[in-house]
Subunit: 209 residues, 2 copies
DNA sequence: AACCTTATTGATCATACGATCAGCAAATGG
DNA sequence: CCATTTGCTGATCGTATGATCAATAAGGTT
């Protein structure tokens, strides 16, 4: 008990710039996810255990730092493999949709992503609109085409139906990370049931196959 | 052209306190819905065409004003009639659910509500959790009971299924007012289709009856 | 061990923001 | 038309925040 903070944060200073930058960005992601994009730089620096001025050594302005945060969070959130997965006709539509949403939910049902996506959406960021546009074009539209071709029921799915399926699933993550109300630890069962209801309604696949 | 703002806003000062207060609260609702709960009082005053100091004549602090905003937005958002509507066995479950969600969506798919609910949710407001808890207990739980009693299919709906139905519907409003991406002008068709898919999956009602 | 590079700091500036208050002027009553 | 009340304003205070910069010291090199 000779110093205030003995070993926990051994104030290791003078990191290699690349590593320090990474540390700042990751800390900023966690920080802004907690308090919102208007969180101040002093509090962020405090969390990181560095001085506020150091941040401006790595980023010319706060908005530059936020750009890096966006990039870090948005990068590779939509895998390039999914369009091919979703149109791989060697699997049933049900298998493909379930595989996709299990993977996708694991990827987006995360505190940082959910909250920063929502914060930036509320701020009117063009990034969100581009993301959702991309999601619609690259994931939902091809999937819709597959479903429309395969549908055997009296009714055929529309794009808006797919957004409804999608929204119902995403809403689990919203409840968990935005509203922070009780919700299932493992969403996969709820997802499976939602997908099966959807496919059954369009006679697109038997849950028991 | 003798004065800067001739007639448009005839700077009618000295309103009756009650009316001024109402004007401030309604302006604050619109303002904070736009810019977020951290919007500053000077900008709000500018929108209202009054001085910043006037706000503090009606509210002791900014957080007091926000309390009034919450109250104004949350008040009577969940009608007391709905529980009875949803359990009124003179109508089919389909009629009841559709009537509810048509009314409910009209009530909540509004810019101010959607955004302030989301802003306050992100801020961790207890109000949101209470609202959702209330929604679950007063709306969804009774509805679930009705459905479970009436279900004739092999599977019976669970609470999480109802949250999924609910989330899929609410997501329309999120796309519209939070992300501000293209979505149907009139959500009632999408709602009807979502409800019918749900009921069909549990053999709870024929869409054509 | 002395030296040099540069990552990091502490002090500081300009502005933004919430909040206060004495004084002004608009409405009301006489 | 004057007096009184009080809704409203303008100026101001203290602090918070983004941003700057000279000074410092950590870590590698010789």
């Amino acid at each position: 008990m000779n110093s205030a903070e003995p070993t926990a944060a051994p104030d290791r200073r003078r990191l290699p710039p690349q590593e320090r930058r990474r540390q700042i960005v990751e800390g900023a992601v966690a920080f802004f996810a907690d308090v919102g994009l208007e969180g101040n730089t002093r509090d962020l620096a405090g969390r990181l255990g560095v001085t506020q001025s150091l941040l401006f050594n790595y980023f010319a302005s706060k908005s530059d730092l936020l750009e890096a945060v966006y990039e870090h969070v948005y990068l590779n959130r939509l895998s390039d493999d999914w369009p091919t997965l979703l149109t791989d006709e060697r699997q049933t539509i049900r298998e493909r949709v379930l595989t996709f949403y299990d993977a996708y939910s694991q990827l987006i049902f995360q505190y940082e992503w959910m909250r920063i996506f929502m914060f930036s959406g509320l701020a009117g960021a063009a990034l969100n609109r581009r993301y959702l546009d991309h999601l619609g074009k690259v994931i939902l539209a091809p999937l819709l085409k597959q479903m429309q071709a395969a549908a055997t029921g009296p009714d055929v799915p529309q794009m808006e139906d797919l957004w409804n399926l999608h929204g119902g699933i995403v809403y689990i993550g919203i409840r968990q990370h935005i509203y922070q109300v009780p919700c299932p630890d493992d969403p996969s069962e709820a997802i499976t049931r939602a997908v099966d209801r959807f496919l059954t309604a369009f006679a697109l696949g038997d849950p028991n196959e």
